[in-house]
Assembly symmetry: C2
Homo-oligomer: 323 residues x 2
Amino acid sequence: MMLTSEQLMVQAPATAGYDALLKHGLETVNQLMHTAVDSDVTVLRDASRHIIEAGGKRIRPRLMILSYLATDGSPAALNQVSAPAAAIELVHTASVVHDDINDHGVVRRGRPSVNALWGRTFALLTGDFLFTKVYELMAPYRDLNVPLADATVALVEGETLQAQAVKENNFNRETYYQIIGRKTAALFGAAAKIGAMMANAPQNQVDMLYQFGYNIGLAFQIVDDVLDLVGDEKQLGKTSGIDVAQGRGFATAYATETPETVDEADPMVSIKRRVLQGDALEEARRQSRALVEAAVRQLDILPDSPYKQGLIDTAHMVIDREF
Amino acid sequence: MMLTSEQLMVQAPATAGYDALLKHGLETVNQLMHTAVDSDVTVLRDASRHIIEAGGKRIRPRLMILSYLATDGSPAALNQVSAPAAAIELVHTASVVHDDINDHGVVRRGRPSVNALWGRTFALLTGDFLFTKVYELMAPYRDLNVPLADATVALVEGETLQAQAVKENNFNRETYYQIIGRKTAALFGAAAKIGAMMANAPQNQVDMLYQFGYNIGLAFQIVDDVLDLVGDEKQLGKTSGIDVAQGRGFATAYATETPETVDEADPMVSIKRRVLQGDALEEARRQSRALVEAAVRQLDILPDSPYKQGLIDTAHMVIDREF
């Protein structure tokens, strides 16, 4: 099934202000994802909509839309960003569905995971289905496929590096940054970059926005990892404590480089204690803030606009989740 | 990583005859797959090459190359088909890796499956990696992505329909043909269609070649299913008997519609007996032959050429695997 141009064209309100425009853009992305995963194979449709409509922060589409607008993309033509923005959110969604298989995650976005409700076989196929829908949505966009394909490759490589480091018991700060660079930051970078490409922004802006997205992607993942440890499941909307239980994440990378934890029989207890004592937590806060500040400074080359301010606000949103 | 034009351009021998040209084309596809899955994440590279280099029949790239040549595509420019042909083989390869997870297949192409050697987590990620490499290889080919994306969606839908029919215990001949149409025939159809598209063939030839590929894809799957039941593992190069053990495949569809088997405690025994008695086997032989004959008749609209003969030979190859 290819989407018709009518399905892609939800008319943007021509005089919309910043908030209304962003809201409209994100709603269009949600509608498009809903439509894109339609199938007479009901389990694929239902499982896809279950995870899509559970929400999620939509931070990648938000970055793409704001980058487009902040680099002088026409607000009246904002709907052209909908398909790539839906596609990038579906890459993330597919990876989440497959992660929950490998990690035995049973709660996601405040709902039972696809894995928990439909079982492993259908969860694997639903993730594959979502990947194929990315490909289908992006088929008409020649140039934009290169950065999205690269980021999708990086995402799978990052997940694999993580599983490998855990298995080989060499999870440390160096591997940690390699992992989160690929599994999270590359897709954030691609989101911001593709928005600028769609606005036909000059190359220095396109490159800068990739770096901007990449840096806040790193910050996002550090915060996410710490929340995994100190947040509760209800607040997080997903199974918590998975990272440390599996021997990975920021706290693991931090704690395994300090001697105190070496002899502990239960790493969860010792790592959690160190984090709650404050040093890993403080380190995570410091690093994620530094990354966001660096990212925001990079935006200096853009003219001021409500959209640029939207990018700055988004960068702060990433670290202002309480922990 | 994007492939450079040098990597894509292995010079075709300008004066090559039919056999040499096809052999050259398939070797280029193999080289390109080898290169495309390179990664510093060694487990992804090694697991991908393990399954790719185990061989396989390369029937989808063969169909694409022959369709291209049979619709007057320039032999000197055959290398332009290499990337789409590698991509379509990688779609199939990714699905095989994921199938072996869901089916607990431990032997594939005469080797231990990726699942058996690297475990479930890495097998899932290797399948995802191969899907992302399809996307990366195809990024520059705008129009060709639509049929390949559609066939990839169909493939995942077909696998899902199959798992669903088994689970809901309504595997019959009608569901069987829906399943194999999507999980196998659609990709065969796309292979032949894309070859013709790359040759800029007229629309009636493009459409006909889709039908040609689709029909021999149906025949291929029927034969494959019967071989799963009556072949041995060494001959097949993969775990045999999976289909009936899981309550699916041609023999299951055939046998579950005849009253004899209803009361049997062990469906494998009763289905296998019926097949070996000859009726399901004969029915499979009859149907697969009829499909191939219909497919070959469709080629009448093409001018005679060694390449058209190659397509006819390929169609016969599909059913001339002994059973």
